[in-house]
Symmetry: C2
Subunit: 343 residues, 2 copies
DNA sequence: GTTAGCACTCGCAAAAGGCGAGTGCTAAGC
DNA sequence: GCTTAGCACTCGCCTTTTGCGAGTGCTAAC
């Protein structure tokens, strides 16, 4: 990316402007900088530099008689080259560590809690794309008769429940029969990684079933299809209110746009999903999603056994505490990876 | 309650004022009423009546030179005695009916969907308190080994999955052993209503287990405790953004208060939980919850086998379309009751 | 290249003014 | 005695005006 294309003094001023704006949410003027940051430069000099930075597209002025704020390009440069690394405080580390120390919960609530902690630590809305099935190991399938014609199918992986679906049957079946099917499926599949599930394996099972009992044909088909093409990963959200603490959302309309995005899983999914490794920062218009074009999104993928399985992240105004959030999101993804890998 | 304590003309005027204010969100004046509603009364007469209604506490003036709006007492009278019944439109009926016609989903997503439809039909945020365990029938328990020391416990009722928990074991156990325990528990419990679960039954099972295999003692204890004291019912939410369409929430602070409430399950639980039968309307300060004191809450309980198991409802400004929402919430609860009872 | 000085811009907040919807009161009418 | 026309009055709100101040760009001197 674009780095080291500005001379050191311009970089310094861009950094100071960005830092100050992130903190204050007010356009920052040359006087403020001179007074507050002791750079050994007069306001006039700073003004000249700022004019250059504006010409280069790194800063902009909301209106003529105001100070400067970073443009998207300015933020991008800041994030890529200027931002000072900010380590997590002891408290923050402690919160995350102690959270992951307690292991006796099921997957769903672990993820829900994770995203809650993420929003508490960053003070921004946070999101999470739940883990994919692929690298998991099949643990168990169970068919449970709910009524004469309804069948509950449970699929459990080494990480916990992944899928549960009710299937309507045409012909009634007894729990005993279901147990036999469950037993056979488990015998075939237990301990296998999902990644290995191939159509051939399913066909083999189906044929075996057919020989065994014809009436299960349809049910088994459905189950196998469920296993092959499972629903989208669940999306977890927390701390949406945090966004209201920032002046860029004081107008209800702005907030509403974002809130609408939050209520639509499909769009969130598109926003989050990427198999790119490591931390990802999308600033403003870099986001495809229109409602998020005045926002920045910081995400990191988490892994199980070296393979990316999900994403956690934080969304906020482009004027976001990048340094801090990057640290938290990164560390969180790391810990979550460790945690899930241990399961 | 207070009904028929106003003469018919005062009632008429209170009704007209309330209807108009609900629609327009603007204080309504005597001229407007005379012009718009053709009551055969001059503005002056209406003014006199309104002055009386204000003295009686049914109306109030936001400020001297404005029209009148209903007070909480006014809304209460309106709701109890004046509100005209508003039947659901054919479309609305169709939406709900066709929704409940499709049965092949699992409980959790049914409830999630229900609350979504509720908010779409009413255009207010809607809430739902998930069903309690009590009137359900135990269908299945399954112990699944996730790793050497982690055990997934699943409890399934006739309505679908209800509980799944990970339990840490001290000593490793094999899946085969777990299957045996599952089998025994199921033999004892399948088909029993949860309401019949008594400590004595559990003790009996535990004793039998003890004789069978000592190392399961602790696991079984945990499972039984889970069954006895299960977590709070889940709370479902949808359509929070709808509240932003109403001018009473145009100030972010007002909205934030409500949003904070929505993110705290504990408070929502207190707000919703009641075993009172039928429809319930809480207007403004009648709500205990402070954040909801400028709101009204309309809820109805749903039942399985004649026993109340959960609550669904809608929250909105006190200036709410009571008649319509009451119909929707009521019908929805009814259909949901039917649906769940059929399972 | 840096900086002091200065005229200029312009958003914003407070003050001023005018409008209009709505009221209460009074007195006349049915 | 209830109803209503008439009228003076109130007061929130919208618009306009005004003044302030933060900030700028330019110029000229260092």
């Amino acid at each position: 990316m674009s780095r080291r294309e500005l001379d050191p003094r311009k970089e310094l001023i861009l950094k100071v402007v960005t830092d100050d704006y992130i903190e204050s949410a007010e356009p920052v003027g040359s006087r403020t900088i001179a007074r507050k940051y002791n750079l050994g430069l007069s306001p006039a000099t700073i003004r000249n530099e700022m004019a250059d930075l504006e010409e280069g597209g790194y800063l902009k002025q909301p209106h003529v008689s105001a100070g400067r704020i970073p443009s998207h390009q300015g933020y991008r440069y800041y994030v890529d080259a200027l931002m000072s690394q900010q380590d997590l405080t002891e408290e923050e580390l402690a919160v995350i560590r102690s959270y992951f120390a307690d292991r006796s919960r099921e997957l769903d609530s672990i993820l829900q809690q994770t995203v809650k902690i993420l929003s508490q630590l960053t003070r921004y809305p946070s999101l999470m794309l739940g883990p994919t099935l692929k690298p998991s190991i099949f643990k168990h399938v169970q068919l449970i008769s709910l009524s004469a014609h309804d069948l509950l199918v449970l699929i459990v992986t080494d990480m916990g429940i992944i899928e549960n679906k009710v299937i309507a049957l045409e012909a009634p079946v007894s729990q005993g029969d279901l147990d036999r099917v469950s037993y056979l499926l488990n015998k075939k599949l237990r301990g296998q990684p999902f990644a290995k599930f191939k159509s051939s394996l399913f066909r083999e099972i189906r044929d075996e079933m057919k020989a065994d009992n014809g009436i299960f044909q349809k049910a088994v088909d459905l189950i196998l299809k469920t296993m092959e093409t499972r629903n989208k990963e669940r999306i977890y959200l927390d701390g949406i209110i945090n966004i209201l603490d920032h002046p860029e959302f004081k107008e209800v309309e702005k907030f509403k746009l974002l809130m609408e995005l939050m209520e639509e899983e499909e769009r969130l999914y598109r926003l989050l999903s990427t198999r790119q490794q490591g931390i990802r920062i999308s600033i403003g218009e870099e986001n495809q999603e229109e409602a998020a074009q005045e926002c920045s999104l910081i995400t990191a993928n988490y892994e199980v056994g070296g393979q990316v399985v999900g994403t956690n992240g934080v969304i906020g105004p482009t004027r976001m505490e990048y340094a801090h959030v990057v640290s938290v999101v990164d560390f969180m993804a790391q810990k979550l990876s460790e945690f899930l890998s241990k399961l």
